[in-house]
């Protein structure tokens, strides 16, 4: 599987480690209460289809990527730097 790194071009997925749902980046407000944090930490969607997920380029430039992947076909639809995604949502 190849991951299209936004800076380095196509890279072998073996260079990456997988974290999971990119929703982990949306940490609730500290005042949001325990229920919100419980959901953030423990609850994940498990979609059969397009999924946005966090991958770490551990054996490369050590950047975090948000990779959009179809979990049914393993097709990779895009990848962008997680820092860019975070900046956009600020």
């Amino acid at each position: 599987m190849l991951i299209p790194h936004p800076l380095l071009g196509p890279r072998d997925a073996q260079e990456f480690t997988y974290l999971g749902d990119a929703a982990l980046m949306n940490r609730p407000d500290p005042a949001a209460g325990e229920d919100a944090f419980c959901d953030h930490v423990y609850l994940r969607g498990n979609p059969a289809g397009v999924h946005r997920e966090l991958w770490f380029h551990e054996q490369g430039d050590r950047s975090w990527l948000v990779v959009t992947r179809n979990t049914l076909t393993h097709e990779i639809l895009g990848a962008e730097l997680a820092t860019d995604v975070a900046r956009r949502s600020e």
């Binding site: 380095l8 196509p10 073996q14 054996q59 490369g60 430039d61 050590r62």
Partner: protein
Amino acid sequence: MTDLIPMTALGGAAPRSRRHGALSLVERPDIALASLALRRGAVAPAPGGLVLPGPGGLASADGLAAFWTGPGQWMVEAAGQAEADFAAALAAMAPGCSVTEQTDGWACFEVAGDAAALEALAERLVNLPAAALAPGRATRTVLHHMGVFALRRDPGCLALWGMRSAAGSLWHALDQAALRLTAFDET
């Protein structure tokens, strides 16, 4: 008084070298290495007139060479300065940046040969598109399950920086790959 004996990463008193057909391998204990990282929002410096390269790039000038290792991060090499305090010299050339000495954590091996032989060797060692190791390109990747920096200094030279503690394994991987590649060329 303790009598210390300097030795290279492979344990020898002198750098190891080996020749297989068109390819020659050599250990380079003389190259000093330091990492350079920008603080948040800082402008990239030009240490010693060296223009720091962009992603996947390698640049050299006046005995220094730098390669990109991540956003706002580079490794800077200085040939022949491994026994000097190169990190301090680099820190003076790049005020306001985070500079860390790296020389002793790494071992450098260089493979010299014609471009076609080096590309054939790289195809066997690392899972990268050929463009990532075109002359003047450098990148971090995996080689025999070890993280390495692979640098194509020029068409006839491929350099690999690996963990010093795994120098023997890295040398073995390079040596065997070069041997197998060239064994059938020798007549």
